[in-house]
């Protein structure tokens, strides 16, 4: 009986990995509504002496449990499609832009993801920007 349980667990985990290579913990944590509040780059703010810059009226993104997302920009452009977070914390978007209809994939490295903060940056970007989003609504 014990061997059967181990076998079932093994098959289950194996299937999960082969399907989407998702980081389940991060996938669960990212679900909800987020808003861009600022970013880091290589320019120091002369007033704060720090390289963090706040953003007013930042875009808003909704990550859903079914691995779809929607980002709304001001004034009227929407990116919607699928997302995934791999085990190496790489956040992948596959989206279509409305109204242009253009489709794009994009990849980012998640640096921080907790209950309130999501920060990510394009892989290989040595000057930034590292975007900072804050949760505005729990699912």
């Amino acid at each position: 009986m014990k061997k059967i349980i181990i076998l079932i667990l093994f098959v289950s985990l194996g299937c999960s990995d082969s399907e989407d290579n998702s980081n389940g913990l991060m996938m669960n944590k990212i679900v909800g509504d987020w808003k861009l509040v600022g970013y880091y780059d290589d320019e120091e703010d002369p007033e704060t002496g720090f390289n963090y810059h706040t953003v007013e009226n930042g875009f808003e993104t909704t990550f859903r449990q079914n691995k779809t997302f929607e980002t709304t920009f001001i004034p009227s452009e929407t990116y919607s499609g699928k997302f995934n977070i791999a085990n190496d914390s790489i956040l992948t978007f596959n989206y279509t832009i409305t109204p242009s209809g253009i489709s794009n994939p994009e990849r980012f490295k998640i640096l921080i993801l907790n209950d309130n903060v999501l920060e990510y940056i394009a892989p290989g970007a040595i000057f930034g920007p590292q975007l900072r989003l804050e949760r505005i609504n729990n699912p």
Binding site: P46, F50, V55, F73, G124, F127
Partner: protein, 582 residues
């Protein structure tokens, strides 16, 4: 602090507007390529700025985990100078480096910044940006601080990029690719750059740019990224493979260093040189020397000379006039003491094998239709300045402006073989040789040759006037040609002629016989034209002979009559002699 920042944003908008004519890529004729700008910038007549830099290596509190090995600092400084020198900005390393033991700053924790060393641009190397582990560096204008992640110290111009910020440069994609998407209020239009001085990076010769590094940073862009043509080698971009600043960026930095109060404390005279000719070969000639670094405030100067040099006029101005006296010494020095303490000295040659070199191969007088003429500038090896060697020669043919030549399809002005089609009277050679064609217009010209040194200094080494004219008017040979005609009286229609030409050392010509390969082979051939007229002016014989001794046969002469024999040489020589038929 904010007021200062706004003030200088405004100041540099104003400065940018001063250059508004250069804005915008619309008129490509006025746009200088990077190489052209580089050449002009390194010219001896342009001031430079010198910036003090202090290298600071951060370690953990216990002295471990240093951000970089100090052995790479020369490489960092070398890269900085290679990128900024073309724009007249040089860096002077103050001391060597120091260590700062601060684990917090080694991880760039907020509030842990150490105090800057005054009067220099502080370049800190840290181990890690704790909150931005991907980041390579941080800087901004006005803080005199640049912070670099150690592993990026020699990577893809990271230091130069951040120093560019410190000297008031902005990203080339500013406002086009932002964290929140396209910002129409300040983004540069890739189709129309008329507002380039107030949009994007505020520099007009950097094309509108975007970056793909920001993820959603290009949303709402109305222009479409395919319509951008960014300079992907620009150091202030985010593209991989950065190489250079644009001339406009160089001007912006240069203007900032000149005028921004935030940058005045880091300016220095330590990179300064005494600029002027590296040799004075002729007595009586007056040359001007100056300090290469632009004045900082109101400095004092005190010039002095040694050897066989003498100051003409004031010795306390920013430049000084100097002449050579006799007897000459091999080397002499020119020194200047700036602000009573900084001494800069230049050693120059004051005894040269030649004064101003004569071009070998060049005639004072040249027959038009001469064809190609090879020229050589003799080089005195002892005159070579090893610190600033000659890298090229610039040849020019000058025509008197007051006597412009009406050009038509038949008139050919003098030109250099191999010169650019639109500037055929100018030729730049990497060797001391050039080929000139004097065309077919009778006129006087001045031909000059300057040597151009590695630093961009330009010295006149030869200038010669050349008269181009009809061969028969050649003043050099006209009165010197002699002929012997025998027998005279002529018998049986046989005339023996011997032509005697002057030696090539005639004062009217200059010809170095040791360099025959550079002379016109046609001209060097003996080529004698004979015409014989009767006393009524009728031409009764004409022929050309290739030797200086020849026989004319079967000439139908009437016994007892006199005849005139005209002898022309290809060099323009002319001789006339009377013969009588037996």
């Amino acid at each position: 602090m904010k007021n200062y920042y706004n003030l200088f944003v405004y100041l540099f908008i104003c400065l940018a507007r001063l250059n508004a004519q250069e804005c915008g890529f619309v008129d490509t004729e006025n746009y200088q390529t990077y190489d052209q700008y580089h050449f002009n910038r390194s010219s001896a007549n342009v001031d430079i700025h010198c910036i003090n830099v202090c290298f600071r290596i951060v370690r953990d509190n216990n002295g471990a985990n240093a951000a970089i090995n100090p052995n790479i600092i020369p490489q960092v400084l070398s890269e900085m100078n290679s990128k900024f020198n073309p724009h007249g900005i040089y860096f002077n390393q103050v001391g060597t480096f120091d260590y700062i033991n601060s684990t917090n700053y080694n991880n760039y924790l907020q509030g842990s910044s150490p105090a800057n060393i005054p009067n220099c641009l502080n370049i800190y190397f840290i181990k890690n940006f704790n909150h931005n582990p991907s980041l390579g560096g941080i800087a901004t204008f006005g803080t005199l601080r640049v912070t670099i992640k150690g592993i990026h110290a020699t990577n893809d111009c990271t230091v130069s990029h951040e120093v560019g910020h410190a000297l008031n440069l902005r990203h080339t994609f500013r406002c086009t690719s932002t964290a929140n998407g396209f910002n129409a209020s300040c983004a540069e239009n890739p189709f129309n750059s008329v507002e380039c001085h107030i949009r994007g990076d505020l520099v007009c010769d950097t094309p509108a740019d975007y970056t793909t590094m920001g993820g959603n940073s290009n949303v709402n862009n109305p222009y479409g990224l395919n319509n951008y043509n960014p300079d992907k080698k620009n150091i202030m971009s985010y593209w991989i493979g950065k190489q250079h600043f644009s001339p406009g960026q160089g001007e912006r930095m240069f203007s900032s260093i000149t005028g921004a109060p935030e940058l005045q404390s880091i300016r220095s005279y330590n990179c300064a040189n005494v600029v002027g000719p590296s040799k004075i070969c002729r007595s009586g000639r007056i040359d001007s020397y100056r300090v290469s670094v632009a004045p900082i405030g109101t400095p004092t100067y005190n010039w002095s000379v040694s050897g066989c040099l003498q100051i003409i006029g004031s010795s306390t101005n920013s430049s000084v006039n100097i002449t050579r006296t006799l007897p000459s010494t091999s080397n002499s020095t020119i020194s200047v003491t700036i602000n009573g303490s900084i001494v800069k000295t230049k050693t120059i040659r004051t005894r040269c094998l030649f004064g101003v070199f004569r071009m070998a191969g060049l005639y004072d007088w040249v027959s038009k239709d001469y064809g190609d003429m090879g020229l050589i500038i003799p080089i005195d090896p002892e005159d070579e300045d090893l610190d600033d060697p000659v890298v090229k020669y610039m040849w020019e043919i000058h025509e008197q402006e007051s006597e412009p030549t009406a050009l038509n399809s038949e008139n050919i002005k003098p030109y250099f073989v191999g010169a650019l089609p639109n500037e055929k009277n100018i030729f730049t050679s990497s060797t001391n040789q050039a080929i000139v064609n004097w065309g077919n217009i009778s006129k006087s010209y001045l031909i000059t040759c300057h040597e151009i040194t590695q630093s961009g200094e330009k010295y006149l080494i030869s200038e010669n006037y050349v008269d181009v004219g009809d061969p028969k008017n050649n003043p050099c040979f006209k009165n010197n040609i002699q002929s012997i005609i025998a027998p005279n009286p002529v018998r049986n229609g046989l005339i023996n002629v011997i032509v005697q030409k002057p030696e090539n050392t005639s004062p009217c010509n200059y010809k170095d016989l040791e360099q025959p390969q550079f002379f016109n082979s046609e001209l060097d051939k003996v080529n004698n034209s004979i015409t014989i007229f009767d006393y009524q002016g009728n031409e009764i014989y004409r022929n050309v002979f290739e030797t200086n001794e020849f026989t004319i046969e079967n000439v139908n002469l009437i016994s007892g009559n006199n005849y005139v024999v005209n002898l022309f040489t290809n060099e323009g020589g002319f001789n006339q002699q009377v013969i009588i038929a037996e």
